[in-house]
Symmetry: C2
Subunit: 311 residues, 2 copies
């Protein structure tokens, strides 16, 4: 594999300062899970309802020249985040979504003032259209996970967790394309070097798991309850480089366990996560990951962009 | 009015230590409301979904002798909290509710293992029945707001806010019977004497407002969107003594504004509050309360025990 430049901790600290006026420092909630203390990092309270706003603000604010327009391909959390950033910074924004994208997310993107282009039957086609639209001067295309700016921005969450929980040993988080996973791995490596990240994926979206097994990112069939947020069909190159450099471990959880973890968060703490946001907790609840005695565990609740009806 | 003994800050600090193993230190989320910074105290994440667990644990754990049974009258947050405390401490619990109490709350109380007694058509009748049941030796009756233990326990929230936000100027909170209001007033007076509490009530439940106008607690017609949590028909004696001693100010908000504040919390921060939990924020959103330039404002989101469908 070609040498992939990874964000350094200095890059991530610079991003922390750069985006500070625009993002929330999301709180930690300490809970008990079957008698074990677990710190929930409540990133669902971030602007646009997920951590994706960190990467999007970082990409835009660190661009060599202020972009005159933003484009992205995503009918989900990344699209919402880019639309939010365009809205806040006053930059015209186009979001390309597949024709089958759910109306509720598309409507939310449009409500932020972004132009929504429905293109093609797959994400890949929408992505291609977004890249064509980005070829005009001044237009910035924001990748959902596999770009330096995106990973650096998600890294601010890792730096923040290291500050909020200076004794943290393990940070569990859900993985889709790997932007959050690689960013937090790098941010945590700088702020709390003794800690490690544990990646959690649905068995129905095993993008990282299959990449680690194959020794490189590979195309993966994705589906299941968290696919709207975790359903990247291939792990990012940056993510793969970061997780292999840091020996990030991976575990899988069943869709049923994700649904139950989502209910647990509501029942025990009135936290209304989306399925992807409950995925990391599912690993603790099911015993797919069993912390050691005294291990300080943080679980990232990464998003809340789902209808809370039925919780 | 007879001289009412108010909890001191020492009483409240003792309660902080007493209940620490049983309650959560709930987090602060900093948000922007129309360009003004507001700190949300996310007490809806407390055990049982509201601050009421603080008072209930305090009453039970500070009883002169360990009670052999608990009773309370409430089809709402207090009932849920007492049932939770009984469940956690292994003490048999009976909750008296009016026959018309909503099935969803009654079911939640029963799910915690409490015996639910449906008595009478009004809260007053259920309350009377609970007092009769409490006349047996060893049985502890927990008042929803007008008892020393309850107010002392709610005071731990005031002490906590003073610690978490040492520069806070104003704490906005919703008022029903006044347990939270008086407790936080007293706890804040100890931890951050320069700060003051602003009481917010629905126009449909003006229990404190009318008591201040009349110079004493008076019976009030209650109804509206937050009545299941704020619909005490008369302010507590302890609350009245505390708010008059500390000159606590009161503002009213319309039911529509509460509904909109609840939607705002979900839309802007994915916080799924119940109507009572959004009532204090409504005062800021509507301009019923306008903070001064530089004023450090904290809004207590006091509960989340409502169906999140429709948010």
């Amino acid at each position: 594999m070609a040498d992939i430049p990874l964000p350094t901790y200095d890059d991530i600290r610079a991003a922390v300062a750069l985006i500070a006026p625009w993002v929330r420092r999301t709180p930690i909630l300490e809970v008990d899970v079957d008698g074990r203390p677990v710190a929930l990092k409540l990133e669902l309270f971030q602007h646009s309802g997920s951590f994706k706003a960190r990467g999007a603000f970082t990409s835009v604010l660190s661009a060599p020249e202020p972009p005159t327009a933003l484009v992205a391909a995503s009918g989900g959390n990344h699209g919402l985040a880019v639309a939010h950033v365009g809205h806040r910074l006053g930059i015209p924004t186009r979001i390309f979504v597949p024709e089958a994208a759910p109306a509720v997310k598309v409507d939310a993107i449009a409500a932020l003032g972004a132009e929504v282009d429905r293109v093609g039957s797959t994400y890949a086609e929408a992505f291609l259209a977004s890249r064509e639209a980005a070829e005009r001067p001044g237009v910035l295309a924001l990748h959902a996970y596999d770009s330096f700016g995106t990973v650096t921005g998600q890294g601010t969450l890792g730096a923040e967790v290291g500050q909020q929980l200076p004794d943290v040993d393990t940070v569990l988080l859900a993985v889709g394309g790997g932007g959050l996973c690689s960013g937090v791995t790098l941010g945590l490596a700088g702020s709390r070097p003794a800690a490690r990240v544990l990646a959690v994926e649905p068995t129905t979206c095993p993008t990282l798991h299959d990449a680690l097994a194959a020794g490189a990112p590979v195309d993966v069939q994705v589906g299941g309850v968290a696919a709207d947020a975790l359903g990247a069909s291939r792990l990012g190159q940056i993510a793969f480089a970061a997780v292999t450099e840091h020996d990030t471990a991976s575990v899988l959880v069943e869709d049923d366990a994700i649904v139950e973890a989502r209910r647990w968060l509501w029942r025990e703490a009135r936290v209304a996560a989306e399925p992807a946001g409950a995925t990391a907790l599912a690993a603790v609840l099911t015993g797919a990951y069993v912390p050691s005695e005294g291990e300080r565990v943080c679980v990232v609740v990464c998003g809340g962009n789902a209808d809370p009806a039925g919780l």
